[in-house]
Amino acid sequence: MSKEKENIFKRPGVQSFISSLVCIILGLLIAFIVLLIINPAGAFGSIMNVIKNFFWFKNPASRLKYFGETLAKTVPLLMCALAVLFSYKVGLFNIGTPGQYCAGICAALYASLTWHWGWFPCLLFAMVAGALLASIVGVLKAYLNVNEVISGIMLNWICLYFTNATLTPVKNPTGKDTLTIASVNKGGIIPSLGLDKIFNDKYVTIAIPVAILVAVAIWIILEKTKFGYELRATGLNKNAAKYCGMMEKRNIIVTLVISGALAGMGAGCYYLTDFEQWAVTSSTVPAMGFNGIAATFLGGLNPIGTIFSSYFITHITAGGAFVDLTKYSSQITDLISALIIYLCGFVLFLKSFMNSIIRKRELKKSGQYENFKQDGRKN
């Protein structure tokens, strides 16, 4: 019987799940300690509010409404996380995701507000914009060996300034935000097909099921197709892939183009619901892309796991609004997601630690532990 149990812990999926859980718990714990240091009086209540998020409301209807809004906010994060994940599987760290997301916002809003395009062409345009920006990183990496992290960061800043300048003509004359799509271009909003009625919230649209389908599609592409296999092979060993006749340069560029398109699509899926407007005085790229990195690693680098981790991160980020703002700042949730990424760096160590415990136990049971220890000493 107990052997059965050990086998469960040996499965990579279970190990990833445990590792992610450890990261979350430690992250929350450290955040709790930080709150305690700042002001011990309301720390426990505040951290509980972060975890509760919309359960904070007593009324079931409000709960449902804010659950819907949390889902709507999960969509862009999930898409960004998939963008990071897709490139990471091919051995590329696409930290340009925030910039590509920003490019998507720029394209979607500009097309919708000035040209009055329908929502679908706007969404496609956002994907193209993200893909184009990412392709620059890909070409630089494939042909000129430019570190994709640094070129990605540089393009983030370039794209931020570009977006601010491009969207300034369509901003609300009285404020710093862009106009709402509803006020200019009614057909530019992503349809809900009745989902808004269920949640009683107009921001709940078909973007939510679409994003989940995309996550499943990404999983199928990476794990079940020849194309995905080639990409992963390139990521594992570029030279071996080249030796096997795969076009490693093309693979790098294609990967980043897909990754950028995903980020751009995330931007379209969010900004075309009119949930949020772009502030043309923004001085940093949207945090969405960076949180996508957290969601990717927390999801154990698995597209399906990413759905849940994205939801979790959105959940606690939204919950940040419910901390006692007279004592603490809502950035405490940024702190939690940053901590989670940092802790995810230790996942590899955690997994090998788990494996070594399992191995020791198995050897002990079969009576070979003494031999194993001696072998270890010899080495």
Partner: protein, 313 residues
Amino acid sequence: MLLLIQYTLIFASVLTLVALGGCYSEHSGVINLGLEGIMVMGALGGALAMRYLPIGIPAFFYILLVIFFAVLVGVAYSALLAVAAINFKADQTIVGTALNMLGTAAATVIVKAINTATNPNDVSSIIQYIEPKKKFILKLGSFEFNWFMLITIIILACAWFVLYKTKFGLRLMACGEHPQAADSVGINVLKMRWAGVMISGALGGLGGICYILAGVSEWRFEYGVAGFGFLALAVMIFGQWKPTKIALAALMFGFFRALSNTYFGFGFLTNLGLPSTFYNMLPYIISIIVLALTSKNSKAPKAEGIPYDKGQR
């Protein structure tokens, strides 16, 4: 014109300091992508010191103390990278990115907590240092000489000397080129890498306080340091991991960065009619072009980014 030179020199100082930090870390074999976060934390340490130190202290000691706290916080923060990347063999890219996010988030939370504690209505993340800033500046006519310019030159000379002329520097570089070989002749690779990361933490922290003192007299910590840590990495790559070339590269990048602050003072530049956005983008565009031209024949330390594993050949 004088203003342009002044800004060029101060930004070049920041970039030189931080890029030298990156250079030490990478020569020891650890890629330090967390420089941006380290700069924010260093800036926080220095800014808090300026807030709480009595203003009556003589300028020389005042500057030393502020620098001491910036460096201290920078070193302590870089230990987070060292322990993960060196002892636990974590992915250096992930940990570096985490440090960048953590730096801004933690600094914002801390500053807001302090501000709210002193005045319940104050929920901003701003620290002001109008009076302390004057201590760092020497007015020569209309040119504001910042003591950090001198400090940078001294550190640059030291960095060059230590890296190429001392036993420590040469051993450090060996750990980044071929750690197994270094280990075989009795060099403690892990210790050397710790030293490399700590030095980068110290220089990153120093660069951070220098950056927030460059132009304004208050700092909003939500903004971080606007990608300067990454610009410094671009400077380091362009400088081919060599201190002297890094300084020259920093001057060039500093010039383009300074241009975005001062271009409106030049008649022929404003006559071109380019939007101000263009000048904001300029340093980043230049860095991409420069990287594209120089990355092909990279002189990067061979073993950088790879955790040291004794069992590996």
